[in-house]
Symmetry: C2
Subunit: 107 residues, 2 copies
DNA sequence: ACCGTGCATAGCTTGTTGGCTATGCATCGA
DNA sequence: TCGATGCATAGCCAACAAGCTATGCACGGT
């Protein structure tokens, strides 16, 4: 299996794709047609991006007749938050180490 | 000016580049040579990635003789955290709206 | 049963990008 | 001063990815 933050970063790196995800976060569930209307790209492109977002676990789809409704899956952002916290944590640890060193030097 | 989270996502989307940033977060300041030794790619590639990370504000460089020391700039991650919080916020708001609706329906 | 509609898939084209080698430039040591 | 070393830049190539149009497929309405 591929690393989780890697998939998220790759998926959210594309502006069009990220815009779709943002809209789903802001406005809730939308059909492909509704998303296409204001996406600035063709319908097949929207479908493709939604497929990629789905693979990344960032969206969910629900079929209703011949329409497909997509909605954001916010929980999928967790690895991103974890990664950020981890980076911050490393930084903090190094800072603490420095503090300790300075304390020891001070004695 | 380009959108801040966009630059961050694009910059961190590349595994090699993100690995470099992670090492700088974990291990602190490193020279280009030290980074190259375990990067799995050639030195010019490392330099190039460091340049891109620098442009994104994610790293800082310090020249000392003929060596260049790079270090992580953790503050640059702020827009990423903001973006994530914003998305979570939208989701929360929609949830609250739904709660309100249910409450009103309950009356 | 048929046509229209909504979405997905296929196939193609093009721009971007991440890798390489070769080279330039500055600094340090002898 | 001259060779070696450390890093940056240049130039090239291959792979990928994002866009398009055309088409397929399934469902709904009439």
């Amino acid at each position: 299996m591929s690393n989780a933050p890697d998939v998220l970063f790759r998926t959210l790196a594309d502006p069009t794709r990220r815009a779709l995800f943002e809209r789903l976060c802001r406005e809730g569930e939308k059909t492909v047609g509704a998303l296409t209307a204001r996406a600035g790209v063709s319908q097949p492109v929207v479908s493709k991006h939604l497929g990629i977002l789905k693979q990344a676990g960032l969206v969910r789809d629900r079929h209703e007749g011949r329409q497909t409704h997509y909605s954001a899956q916010l929980g999928a952002l967790a690895p991103l938050i974890d990664w950020t916290s981890e980076m911050a944590g490393f930084w903090q640890n190094r800072f603490n180490d420095l503090e300790d060193l300075l304390k020891r030097m001070d004695q």
